[in-house]
């Protein structure tokens, strides 16, 4: 599904990703952990096509295509979804309108007709129930006045409605209470399938109790310092990052 090779990325002239190599096979869930400032969000943003990042070397292929050559909206329509670490508030742009526009953009890309308004609403309502979101949130501005946890749930709602092929969730678990964490994890799990890949950026092993990853990677200073299975997350929890950073240095 996704192949990142020797990726070097600069932000404001400073190299943040320094030769990152990572492969996410189709149908797998990978967790990316790592200390603050190690470059996790940078990686997520580069994959989604956010401007302001200078890619100085390396390649990213998504389903055999050069991902870095696509505009952000093209990546989204091809099925790449980024769940933001800090979802922005957009007052005046209606939540449900954005959802519908997003769904239709992807459908148009695939040569499909616009979604039927009624079917669409039925689907959205169903997913909202799954995320335990109040229906009134639909008519509000995108994330407008949402609490931190509500914003994260809204990201997952969008993901559930858009059904991406590759979802990158950047610290979707941060700021969630215990119940919300379960709800979000359940939402994510409903999307797991042999055709879909997931990248979970997280600081907490706890999330991985609910969404069990196939692989865990530790990102340190712009490079994957260590990879392993689920037990790596547990070991990290026990021993802290010093254990890995020491090794990586």
């Amino acid at each position: 599904m996704l192949k990142i090779e020797n990726l070097h990325v600069k932000v404001d002239g400073k190299e943040i990703l320094k030769g990152l190599t990572l492969a996410i096979p189709t149908g797998e869930v990978h967790a990316v952990m790592g200390p603050n400032g190690s470059g996790k969000s940078t990686l997520a943003n580069v994959l989604a096509g956010r401007p302001g990042y200078e890619i100085t070397a390396g390649s990213v292929t998504f389903q055999g295509r050069d991902l870095l050559g696509l505009a952000p909206e093209e990546r989204a329509r091809e099925g790449v979804f980024l769940g933001f670490q800090y979802p922005v508030e957009i007052p005046g742009v209606n939540n449900v309108y954005l959802l519908k526009a997003a769904v239709n953009a992807a459908r148009k890309h695939r040569g499909l007709e616009e979604v039927d308004a009624f079917e669409f609403l039925t689907l959205v309502r169903e997913k909202m129930r799954l995320m335990r979101m109040e229906e009134s949130m639909l008519s509000r501005g995108v994330n407008e006045g949402f609490s931190g946890g509500e914003k994260k749930r809204n990201e997952i709602l969008q993901m559930l409605v858009l059904e991406p092929r590759l979802a990158i969730l950047d610290e979707t678990d941060s700021g969630l209470d215990i119940d919300a964490l379960k709800i979000v994890a359940h939402g994510v799990n409903t999307l797991r399938s042999p055709e879909r890949s997931l990248v979970l950026v997280t600081h907490y092993q706890r999330l991985l109790d609910y969404i069990v990853p196939d692989h865990v990677h530790v990102l340190v200073r712009g490079r994957i310092a260590r990879s392993g299975d689920k037990s790596l997350a547990l070991e990290l929890e026990r021993r802290g990052y010093d254990w890995v950073t020491g090794e990586a240095a």
């Binding site: 401007p51 505009a71 909206e73 989204a76 933001f84 005046g92 309108y97 953009a105």
Partner: protein, 456 residues
């Protein structure tokens, strides 16, 4: 004003003076106005508060009114409107009065009797129930020039005073269960080379009365008219006026406008303007909070594209104690447009307890566009609450990326964000039918694509 221009103004006035209707403005007042104008001069770009206006059209303008009587067919047939100029659909429950090039057009009007409401104009309705009341009526003329015509920014009202061809004079008396509803439509057809158009409105609300006034200015898409509009508003004690002003003049028109309002004690005035038309548009608004406890909500949305200039100047004077104003401006400049809002608030000595809030925001949506939002505050008393926010900037990059990351095209994403930006003003429109019309108009203005209309 150059001497040559001044001389031409006086000559043009002298040439048409005798044909101007004395029952719209008396000859004495016309003379007084033209003299005052000649003495003070027309505004020039060097003048403070006129910097953003495109005043060049004034130098070329023909000041004499365009045909005072628009061509019309046999009785009952509407005068031909150019194709592409459809009058907006009427609003339910509203009496409509249409003026073409500053003269009443009964064929395009539908008066409707309402309790306490009198609407007068020069050319009376030819028949119908309202005709009786109208024909007996003589326009009530204020004896002196409006106080604000001495204001440097209100000078263009003098031009209207001197050349006006008709007035829509609206008077509401008595407290009614429901507000009176009036819609005025001003159509500018004549090209500037044929003469100017002088829309003119006088609104007076007796104590405790209520009125909803919708004022529209339209022109043919390609129209290149010269329009000089003057509005005088007098809101009596405890009276309630909701006033919508929709400026959609022809794309090549010069549209100049002066509104002066005075609010008595506990009066409430909601003034909401949406300006999208004209090549060069300038609105001057002067509101005097003359009675204690008066309240004003002034909301303006302005959209400029291509080479358009949208310039707004608003002066609100807090004169009496405990008056409140809330000002909202949202302007978007695209293409090479210039959009400006200069909002000046003066709190006079006796205006203790003034509460004034101002939120001015401009959006720069083109590399060659220009936007200027300027709050000005003059306070001559203690014990006031004033909060002011003024920002001008580009579309928020984070918002834009968020929308793109969901698959929306850059065009749609930008349009959505512009739309959202105007929402602070548009959401204040209380008549659903009107709001829909305005939203459709704005969507059409902002995009040819239907993508936004889906929203509505």
């Amino acid at each position: 004003m150059t001497e040559a221009l001044c001389k031409r103004l006086l000559d043009e006035y002298a040439a048409v003076r005798d044909s101007l209707p004395a029952d719209v403005v008396s000859p004495e007042r016309r003379q007084e106005a033209i003299d005052a104008l000649a003495a003070r001069g027309l505004p020039v770009t060097r003048d403070e508060n006129w910097r953003y206006t495109n005043l060049r059209p004034l130098e070329r303008a023909r000041f004499a009114p365009a045909a005072a009587a628009p061509a019309r067919g046999a009785s009952g047939t509407p005068p031909p409107l150019p194709s592409g100029l459809d009058l907006p659909a009427g609003l339910g429950g509203f009496a409509r009065y249409t003026f073409v090039d500053g003269a009443y057009a009964p064929e395009l009007s539908s008066p409707r009797e309402q309790a306490g409401l009198t609407v007068r104009h020069l050319r009376q309705a030819p028949d119908g129930a309202a005709a009786q009341a109208h024909s007996a009526a003589v326009l009530r003329l204020p004896r002196a020039l409006p106080a604000s015509s001495g204001l440097p920014e209100a000078r263009l009202a003098l031009l209207n005073e001197a050349f006006a061809t008709d007035t829509a004079a609206i008077h509401v008396s008595g407290a009614a269960a429901a507000p009176a509803c009036v819609e005025l439509v001003f159509v500018a057809l004549a090209g500037a080379d044929k003469g100017a158009s002088y829309p003119r409105i006088e609104v007076s609300l007796d104590p405790a009365s209520r009125l909803i006034l919708v004022e529209r200015h339209v022109g043919a898409d390609a129209g290149a008219s010269f329009v000089n509009c003057s509005v005088n508003v007098d809101v009596g004690r405890g009276a309630h006026l909701t006033h919508y002003r929709l400026q959609r003049a022809g794309a090549r028109s010069t549209w100049l406008d002066t509104l002066s309002a005075a609010l008595a004690a506990d009066a409430r005035y909601g003034l909401l303007a949406v300006s999208t038309g004209g090549l060069s548009a300038r609105s001057t608004t002067h509101v005097q909070m003359a009675g204690a406890g008066a309240q004003l909500a002034l909301s303006v949305a302005a959209l400029g594209d291509r080479q358009q200039v949208q310039d707004h100047f608003a002066l609100v004077e807090h004169i009496a104690p405990r008056t409140r104003t809330e000002q909202t401006f949202r302007g978007i400049a695209s293409g090479r447009a210039r959009v400006a809002f200069n909002g000046k608030i003066a709190v006079r000595e006796a205006a203790a307890g003034t509460d004034s809030r101002q939120s001015l925001r401009g959006l720069l949506a083109g590399p060659e566009a220009e936007i200027d939002v300027r709050p000005q505050l003059e306070i001559y008393t203690d014990e006031v609450r004033c909060s002011h926010g003024a920002t001008a900037g580009k579309l928020d990059e984070d918002m834009l990326f968020y929308l793109l990351s969901r698959g929306l095209s850059p065009e749609v994403a930008q349009r959505l964000l512009k739309w959202a930006f105007l929402e602070d003003v548009v959401a204040k429109i209380e008549i659903p039918e009107l709001r829909r019309q305005i939203e459709h108009g704005l969507a059409g203005q902002m995009a040819d694509a239907a993508s936004l209309k889906e929203l509505l």
